[in-house]
């Protein structure tokens, strides 16, 4: 990891106090009502907050993350991002491109592209020129400590390095919210710790709002707050 600054300035104190995400009595039902993945879940995430969502397999964690990331729609209830209801949002693609960054458990890097090129992918949805995309991708690579790996394909990187490239890609459009689905699930403990250190820095230095899905207590321990999902219900919201 480098000591490079993590780019954007932290969000203002006013912004930090406002809820960035508000989940109101959300339910998600699959298979024509046979599977209730989420039942009347309500939750708020403040701007700049670092939240962990824990729960056993099948508890609805990933379903909730997909709903928060506007990848799926709730069967009932409403989700607000920056005060705006997602059900009435005119352009969810734009919201995902500009406001939300995703980090997946299995990285989902494009195997034919180098690290530098993978990071540029989200920037195609911005007005940045090709040259600006490259320059910004280099900055992000530096921030995640992979400058020397710029021209390596994902297959030539360690799994920890791949996840750091994926995080750099998630930051490409300077999102307000970073959603991570089991970000250390495929990593060994050292690589996992490196990713969590990076999350800490992003949260601290950029004031980024982080929502991390995890099985692991050591991951949740890094968060400011942890909520637990069990059988689709939010069981516990420790302070």
């Amino acid at each position: 990891m480098t000591d490079a600054s993590l780019g954007s300035a932290p969000h203002s104190a006013t912004a930090a106090a406002a809820p960035l995400l508000r989940v109101e009595t959300v339910s998600r039902v699959f298979d024509d009502g046979q599977v209730h993945a989420l039942r009347d879940v309500s939750l708020q995430v403040r701007s700049g907050e670092y939240l962990a969502i824990m729960g056993p397999s099948g508890s609805g964690k990933s379903t909730l993350l997909n709903l928060l990331g506007a990848l799926d729609r709730p069967t009932a209830g409403e989700i607000y991002v920056a005060g705006e209801p997602l059900s009435k949002h005119a352009d969810l693609d734009r919201l995902r491109a500009e406001t939300i960054g995703f980090v997946f458990q299995s990285f989902h890097l494009l195997p034919t592209l180098t690290a530098l090129e993978n990071i540029q992918i989200p920037m195609f949805e911005t007005a940045r020129s090709a040259r600006q995309r490259v320059a910004h991708a280099r900055e992000l690579l530096e921030q995640v400590g992979l400058t020397v790996r710029a021209d390596h394909l994902p297959a030539q990187l360690s799994v920890g390095e791949r996840q750091r490239v994926a995080i750099a890609r998630a930051l490409a459009n300077d999102p307000r919210l970073l959603l991570a689905d089991e970000p250390t699930g495929n990593l060994d403990s050292a690589a996992g710790a490196g990713v969590l250190d990076l999350f800490d820095r992003l949260h601290r230095e950029r004031g980024l709002t982080l929502v991390v899905i995890t099985h692991g207590a050591e991951v949740a321990a890094r968060a400011e707050r942890t909520v637990i999902l069990r059988d689709g219900r939010l069981q516990e919201t420790p302070a």
């Binding site: 995703f102 989902h108 034919t112 989200p122």
Partner: protein, 374 residues
């Protein structure tokens, strides 16, 4: 990095499949360029034969589909010459023969009057021109002479009679370079059409389109059984041209359909294999149209290489036919810009048609389900 770079890299993930798809498209495009180009080349070279000789109107018996069986009396030439606006009338009798031993079919034989201007409009490479009274003597076009292995002074059997090669000529027209010229009287006798010709080539004094059309109506007024058509109308009305054009497009269409299905299959496979990647692109904010644009670019790159290879193969095929003994007297070695443009346009259309449905399907697929590989 640009989107086209990503598209190119995606194609090289499966080089064998990409190359095979390019080859499949190349065959389709080669078929279009070669077949359609051949038909156009045939039509253009035939049109050239008339227009470069200054022929404004072709006068023939009205009706009937087979040109060679149409006949008019030779004496009609005198009546046509009396029509105001006519500068020159060239009478000609035509027939087709085959030299089966040499595998030469559809060899054109023209019979011209001894004083016909046609004799002066070909370049004599060896020997002498035919003159009145030169019975059983012929001139051979350069390509036909080469294909038959004949030179001045040699004998050839035509219609069961022996003819002497008096000269070998070269014309601007590939049809004439593969033809036999003889005196009209000789041909009339050999095919038993005394005093008859296949038609007349009429040269007008005023060559403006309106004047030529007016002249055509005046000539047609001489006899209700004759039609006078401009060179282009005449060539386009030839049943052989229509048949060649139709058959070319029919065969090319089959090749296009096979190529488009190949493209559809390739792109459908490609997007199915990459559904999780495409879902990840959608998750990080790529719009549906950008995903569609990426996949269309991939298809257009394949189509571009396919078109390039196909055009090269098509041009090579036409060159081969132009030099192949059996077709060298019929096919010119050139290929029209139009045939190449048609090949390019069809390749682009095949790419768009073959890739659009898989691309749209990939872009609209459920993101969450695709991310998990289902």
């Amino acid at each position: 990095m640009r989107l086209v770079t990503l598209a190119s890299k995606n194609l090289w993930r499966r080089p064998a499949r990409t190359v095979l798809t390019v080859l499949g498209l190349a065959v389709s495009i080669a078929a279009v360029v070669a077949l359609v180009g051949l038909a156009e080349s045939l039509e253009n070279s035939f049109l050239d034969l008339y227009s470069r000789r200054g022929t404004d109107l072709v006068v023939q018996r009205r009706g009937g589909n087979v040109q060679l069986t149409k006949v008019l009396p030779l004496k009609l030439a005198e009546r046509i010459r009396t029509v105001a606006g006519v500068r020159e009338v060239v009478a000609g009798l035509a027939d087709m023969i085959a030299f089966e031993k040499q595998n030469l079919y559809n060899v054109l034989i023209n019979g011209w009057e001894p004083n016909s201007p046609v004799w002066d409009r070909v370049h004599l490479l060896s020997g002498e021109k035919l003159r009145e009274g030169d019975e059983h003597q012929i001139l051979l076009g350069r390509i036909l002479a080469a294909n038959l292995g004949k030179k001045v002074g040699d004998e050839i059997t035509l219609y069961g009679h022996t003819f002497h090669v008096k000269g070998i000529f070269e014309s601007f027209s590939v049809h004439e370079n593969g033809a036999v010229f003889m005196l009209l009287a000789d041909l009339e006798r050999e095919i038993d059409r005394p005093g008859q010709v296949t038609g007349f080539a009429v040269h007008a004094i005023d060559r403006s389109p309106a004047a030529v059309q007016a002249l055509a109506r005046k000539i047609e007024a001489l006899d209700p059984q004759i039609s006078a058509k401009t060179s282009r109308e005449f060539v386009e009305s030839l049943s052989q041209m229509k048949l060649t054009r139709t058959m070319s497009w029919l065969m090319a269409s089959i090749a296009i359909a096979i190529g488009a299905i190949g493209m559809l299959n390739t792109m459908a496979m490609s997007v199915f294999e990459r559904r999780a990647e495409i879902a990840a692109l959608r998750a990080i904010g790529w719009r549906q149209r950008r995903v569609v644009g990426l996949i269309l670019r991939e298809a257009l790159i394949v189509a571009g290489f396919g078109a390039l290879a196909g055009i090269l193969v098509g041009v090579a095929a036409i060159q081969f036919l132009a030099h192949w003994r059996q077709t060298s007297g019929l096919v010119q070695g050139d290929i029209s810009f139009r045939a190449i443009a048609e090949g390019l346009i069809i390749a682009a259309l095949m790419a768009v048609l073959g890739a659009y449905l898989p691309a749209r399907s990939a872009a609209r697929r459920n993101i969450v389900a695709s991310l998990h590989g289902s």
